[in-house]
């Protein structure tokens, strides 16, 4: 029964995505603008890195291409996140305007419903630039796992997008308590910029944040180190594990917030 329900949830999720993509692509100009802005936003950091590394090819043992690889691995899940889970950005607005009700009136999981509330094709831009960066880097960096790198990367990118979505969900759920602080998700998103660079550059306090509560390290930094320097392949499995844990916690936060919403109305 539970398995069958889950299967149905997935079919439903897929249908919603398809319809939303079709609706979104009807607005060509908007879509083009969004993709360009995604490319520019992500490209800025890539350009920054390339400009700096033109003069200083090795930083803290990280050469240019290894850094580009890390950048790609951190950027691709951002794109996937936009493609699958972008509706989370609407949560603070839904709470403020009291429109969360329409989510609760449906016989499906509200979190899943929220994820697809709005998805955007401009994620293709981020995803593309991430994949491009990784494939460029792959020609210069020795990858230790040969062809196995590919499935490992898929695991990391998918887990990464779940991690990003969960962190977004948790920070947006703060809106249940602090309605006016609706820019907290933007703050959390800024931290994804930090995660695109080797964590070794940062002081330990900052690095610790990327293990908890923003466990980006498991999906970006650690896998990059593993794939380029070698090590136990089990390290990759910490990516989905971290994704699962943070997702559970984010859902818990959402549920607590929802309980508050349900007793207070608006």
């Amino acid at each position: 029964m539970a398995a069958e329900q889950r299967a149905h949830a997935l079919t439903h999720f897929a249908l919603l995505l398809r319809l939303q993509y079709r609706a979104k692509s009807a607005y060509r100009a908007d879509l083009a603008l969004e993709i360009v802005s995604a490319l520019l936003r992500q490209g800025t950091w890539l350009a920054f890195m390339l400009v700096l590394l033109r003069r200083t090819p090795v930083v803290d043992g990280w050469d240019t291409w290894k850094m580009v690889f890390l950048y790609g691995l951190a950027t691709a899940p951002l794109g996937l996140n936009v493609l699958l889970f972008d509706g989370v950005w609407k949560l603070t607005e839904l709470i403020r305007k009291g429109e969360l009700d329409s989510l609760l009136l449906r016989p499906v999981d509200p979190v899943l419903h929220l994820y697809t509330r709005s998805v955007s094709l401009h994620g293709i831009g981020d995803l593309a630039i991430g994949i491009l960066a990784m494939s460029l880097a792959a020609q210069h960096v020795p990858l230790r796992f040969g062809l196995w790198t590919l499935p490992l990367l898929v695991v990391c990118v998918v887990s990464g997008s779940v991690v990003y979505a969960s962190v977004n969900l948790a920070s947006a759920a703060l809106g249940f308590w602090f309605r006016e602080l609706h820019n907290v998700p933007f703050l959390v998103q800024q931290f994804t910029d930090l995660a695109r660079f080797p964590l070794a550059l940062y002081p330990p306090v900052l690095t610790a944040i990327f293990f908890f509560p923003l466990p980006f390290a498991f999906v970006t930094y650690l896998p990059t180190v593993l794939l380029t320097e070698g090590g136990s392949v089990w390290v990759v499995l910490t990516a989905p594990a971290a994704a699962a844990v943070i997702h559970m916690l984010a859902r818990l936060g959402f549920r607590l917030g929802l309980r508050r919403y349900e007793s207070a109305g608006n």
């Binding site: 908007d30 360009v36 400009v51 602090f178 609706h182 550059l201």
Partner: protein
């Protein structure tokens, strides 16, 4: 609660500058100079970048565009104040708050964390003028982008585009001299370098008084051009709004 939101806004800029700071630190750890800047100078450079990002933050800009987007424009049109005056007053008020907090940040930073390098400029007057013009330019372009709401529903995308370009081509991330030549030329042809590059170049004494005056004049020219364009767009936009019947 607006204050709480502002604090979060400052934190957002802080995170961004943190990335830049630590990467620059790693790169300059060998005691090298980049584009003629040593580490203490670079720290000051980044501090200036941070402070100018704070003046007129994303939040302010978003409010400008939101007020247009939500059709509050048509409401405000009924008020007997010229739209531009209204916007400018609002922006100046926001600026005042932000300048005040920036001043506090500055005092805090300089006295504790970062020993800032004092300006090496020949002309203090030009330095102050170029900073003021930089702020005025940022305010103007915020309004310009906001006004584009009359034509597109997706102004946040536009803002993001512009900010990405501005971040890279204004010199906020790295001195423009580090760009490849062709991009360097492009950067100087665009208004973004007037936002940040001009005042910092003067601050660090990288240009002689004559060149500095030229750059400041360029800032002034951009300001006039952008303000003129905004006025034109506003005019058109209102007519468009009228024809919709508000």
């Amino acid at each position: 609660m607006y204050r709480g939101r502002y604090v979060v806004g400052v934190l957002i800029s802080l995170v961004q500058i943190t990335v830049l700071y630590y990467i620059w630190r790693a790169i300059m750890s060998g005691g090298q100079r980049h584009a003629g800047y040593d580490w203490p100078q670079m720290q000051t450079y980044l501090l200036l970048s941070f402070l100018l990002t704070l003046v007129l933050s994303f939040g302010t800009e978003e409010r400008v565009s939101a007020s247009i987007r939500d059709g509050s424009v048509s409401l405000e049109l009924l008020k007997p104040v010229h739209y531009m005056t209204l916007r400018v007053t609002e922006l100046i008020a926001a600026l005042f708050v932000e300048l005040l907090s920036v001043g506090l940040c500055l005092a805090l930073f300089v006295s504790t964390v970062l020993p800032a390098v004092p300006p090496e400029t020949g002309s203090r007057f030009l330095l102050v003028l170029s900073f003021l013009l930089a702020v005025a330019l940022k305010a103007t372009i915020a309004i310009t982008t906001g006004v584009l709401c009359f034509w597109t529903t997706n102004v946040l995308g536009l803002i993001a585009c512009r900010q990405a370009l501005a971040l890279m081509l204004s010199g906020a991330m790295f001195p423009l001299q580090m760009l490849p030549d062709w991009l360097h030329t492009v950067a100087y042809a665009l208004p973004f370098q007037s936002f940040f590059n001009t005042p910092t170049m003067i601050y660090f004494g990288r240009v002689g008084t004559a060149d500095a005056a030229g750059l400041v004049a360029l800032q002034g020219a951009w300001l006039i051009a952008l303000a003129g364009m905004t006025a034109l767009l506003l005019n058109r936009g209102f007519r468009r709004l009228d024809s919709y019947g508000g």
